[in-house]
Amino acid sequence: MSAVEQLLDQSVAERVIARALAHGGEFAEVFAERRGGLTLAIDESRIEAVQSGAEAGAGVRVLSGGTTYFAHVDGLDPADLERAAGEAAAALRGERAEARALRAEAPAPQPVERPPGDVPADRKAELLRELDERAREAGGEIVQVMASYGEARREVAIANSEGLLSGDDRTRVRIGAQAVARRDERVETGAETLGAARGFELFDDDPAAIAESAARKALTLLDAVPAPTGSMPVVVGGGFGGVLFHEMTGHGLEADHVQKGASVYAGKLGEVVAQSLLTAYDDGRMPGEWGSDAIDDEGAPTQKTRVIEQGRLTGFLHDRQTAAREGAAQTGNGRRESFRHLPIPRMTNTYIAPGDAEPEAIIGAVEKGFYAVSFAGGQVDPATGDFVFGVNEGYLIEGGEVTSPCRGATLVGNCLQALAAIDAVGNDFWMKTGICGKGGQKVPVGTGQGHVRIAAMTVGGTEA
């Protein structure tokens, strides 16, 4: 408990909560955070953009009659926290409300073997040089390599008027590599990342392999033909292919969208939304995964939530408020980017569970289609269900075989139709890291799946 106490002393927390409830309110909370990190990059084979910083601050919120009053300040002195409480309560006009006594209780954080802060900066620079070299070794047509390293530690403490006093100590590390290949006027790029909610031990096992992978993607694209256009079967690769599910279904399961009628999945709990071969989870407890934490940013323990069971919609993702609104249980999905943000329902690690099909068989059954190995990213409007994905590694499928690489492909579609059109789920499975944006807040999320086939989807290429 000492780490939490160091960040947020119990007696201070009690005073701050009392101050927050001075003019009434059904609930008050203080979220204290100390965050620090280091990032550096290599470009033109030169280590640059070395940035190191630390921030500390707190956010205080009071809930009253459906309205959230929120204030945040930089600094963790008791005076800073009380000032935030005073500002949050300033617009309330009621009688003082009472809070329960605090009971400290915090689950164990994700384990970290080697805190990255203890590793000398030179070692991190050396790691980037290894990435740079490995990508350049992949072929003479690799003309540029960029790589980045980032480490972050967030210590958080949360206390609320219902007696909760909890905390978490979160360490994340991530590297990324991007390679540019050139042949005459043709220029193509490839990228790959590796990240986890772990320490520097993540890089024990050949981290530079991601640079080679990024370079291979760029080189492959030099031979690419323009992407096909029109509606066709699409096979999506594992790992970051899971971002498709994240966008087209995950966001629509976040309960804030659902409760406002701004999700195509609203009112569909218990209904069949996919074929019976599809089961999916959001799991904030996967050991070491990029989207894992011990507790969410409201102090609720993270958990494994089955969102789709054999095609049937079985659960939404809740924060404290959305759960309270419909009398549901919290699911540990109340997340925030920092003490400067309000928690909202967010995914953690979201994935389609492995199925029965062999990846080769999934592709083999396609006469003419598209194979999207990985995406550059995607976007969805949860209310309409319309989504779009940029493919950064894609191939034609002809006669059941993967043939020419394609460039410039975009997938567009509608969530409900595309989800129902998933007609094969592979027995291979892996996870990848992503950064998800919603309501102006970015949080780390994991995505995963094996190979998945969608019977028909619109592919937009660069040639009509």
Binding site: D74, D122, A125, Q379, A383, T384, V388, G408, G413, G461
Partner: protein, 451 residues
């Protein structure tokens, strides 16, 4: 209110004391306020103060960066130590050096609006509620508003460097937007309405609500267009995203590192003569406007594309030194947490003469693109080749016709610019793709992929 200029100067001194040969400090202090409303009620009210300092330290030809929120004497010493330590981890770069002391910074009026401080939280909440109400009252098919948001900010910035450079300024800004939900035949349609100003008095809640309502209801009954090549009219909100891409491509950093579709095209014909673009750091309506850029160099107005030709690249101090050019005052940064880098200030497309109807008439048969999605994933920033998701309206017989969805538009940035066949007469400030002011644009031919 603290003396930010003094804090910045102290930061520079601490960095030099910690071993930096040269140093620069950037301090910002902001007061922010946000109101979110839903269904006639205030959903959340946020009040915030935010203050931090970033230090750039040069140790010989190495540069490092440190930042933090603890601005006590001890805190500043810690930030300075971090910056110097970061510099020691970096490799030498012969062009790394602080900006040369710039010329006189311009005086720009109208960057602060007193209404921001004068309006009470209740009054701005009423404004947000009025935005929501306006959308609901505009059209019976608007069944809800997912969220209406009002945000304002008052920010003070100080920059100081060991060269003796000192600058300070203050700005205010605010915006409001909503996402309207209309009941369609096949589920719900969404429509975004927004406006931005220096203070709440400059916002028009009725217009914001009406725009959201129009954008949502006009999508009812939308269909997927057939794949084809055809004339395309880009709504200002969409044109702005492409202009933003162009601004990044014109950044000397991307050019010098060989990662821009405009590299090696200085002086070349890269656009139709109808398309004239300036980077304007002085226009008081632009949100990137300030007397100085993020490293203290005076902001200015720079012609980027004129007469169809690429006139210059955008420079900060580093790229200017490396490219043997002059800084164009285009150092930007995301805040005190990040190193400055080249970025466009306000990108301003010169309005043309074509009214909205004229532009559609000239298109004849084509597509009006109202919205694009997936710009961060559908664009190759090195080559300018793009394929992005889109929605909008058909253009039939020179007039707007039925709504279209679930299609992509694709092409290549310079090819698209050369094919600008019409420029609208009514520009709009748009906060997408940076800070951009642009009228609608008619592109002669683009690839549309649907069914």
């Amino acid at each position: 209110m603290s003396d930010l200029g003094a804090l910045a100067s102290t930061g520079v001194e601490r960095a030099v004391a910690a071993g930096a040969g040269e140093a620069e400090a950037y301090v910002s202090e902001a007061e922010n306020r946000e109101v979110r409303v839903h269904d006639g009620e205030v959903e959340s009210l946020t009040a915030a103060t935010q203050r931090g300092l970033g230090l750039r330290a040069w140790c010989g030809a190495r540069v490092g960066y440190g930042f933090g929120t603890d601005l006590s004497a001890e805190g500043l010493a810690t930030i300075a130590a971090r910056a110097v330590e970061a510099a020691r981890a970096a490799d030498e770069d012969e062009f790394a050096a602080p900006p040369a002391a710039g010329g006189e910074a311009p005086v720009i009026d109208g960057l602060s609006d007193p209404s921001r401080a004068e309006w009470s939280p209740d009054r701005v909440a009423d404004l947000a509620l009025a935005v929501e109400r306006a959308a609901l009252e505009a059209d019976a098919r608007v069944v809800a508003v997912e969220q209406a948001v009002y945000f304002d900010s008052g920010e003070r910035v100080a920059v100081a460097a060991s060269s003796g450079m000192r600058a300070e300024y203050e700005t205010t800004s605010c915006y409001a937007y909503l996402q309207a939900l209309a009941e369609g035949e096949n589920g719900r349609e969404t429509g975004l309405g927004f406006d931005l100003a220096r203070g709440p008095a400059g916002l028009d809640p009725a217009a914001i609500g009406a725009e959201g309502a129009t954008r949502a209801t006009e999508m009812i009954g939308s269909v997927k267009p057939a794949s084809r090549r055809c004339p395309v009219v880009l709504d200002p909100t969409v044109a702005a995203s492409f202009v933003g891409l162009l601004g990044r491509a014109a950044g000397a950093d991307a050019v010098q590192r060989g990662r821009s579709p405009l590299a090696a095209r200085l002086g070349d014909e890269v656009a139709s003569t109808a398309f004239v673009l300036h980077d304007d750091g002085l226009d008081p309506r632009g949100f990137a406007t300030a007397p100085v850029d993020a490293e203290g160099t005076p902001r200015r107005r720079t012609a980027l594309i004129e007469g169809g030709r690429l006139r210059t690249f955008l420079h900060d101090a580093y790229t200017a030194r490396r490219g043997k050019a002059e800084s164009t005052g285009n150092a930007g940064r995301a805040g005190y947490r990040s190193l400055p880098g080249v970025s466009a200030s306000n990108l301003v497309v010169a309005p043309g003469t074509a009214g909205a109807e004229e532009l559609l008439a000239a298109a004849g048969k084509g597509v009006y693109v109202n919205d694009v999605a997936g710009l961060h994933s559908g664009v190759n920033p090195v080559t300018g080749v793009f394929s992005v998701g889109a929605s909008g309206r058909a253009i039939e017989g020179g007039k707007l016709a039925g709504p279209l969805r679930e299609f992509t538009i694709a092409g290549e940035l310079v090819t698209m610019l050369r094919d600008v066949q019409g420029v609208g007469s009514e520009p709009r400030w748009v906060p997408f793709g940076g800070s951009v002011s642009t009228p609608p644009l008619l592109i002669g031919e683009m690839a549309v992929s649907g069914s």
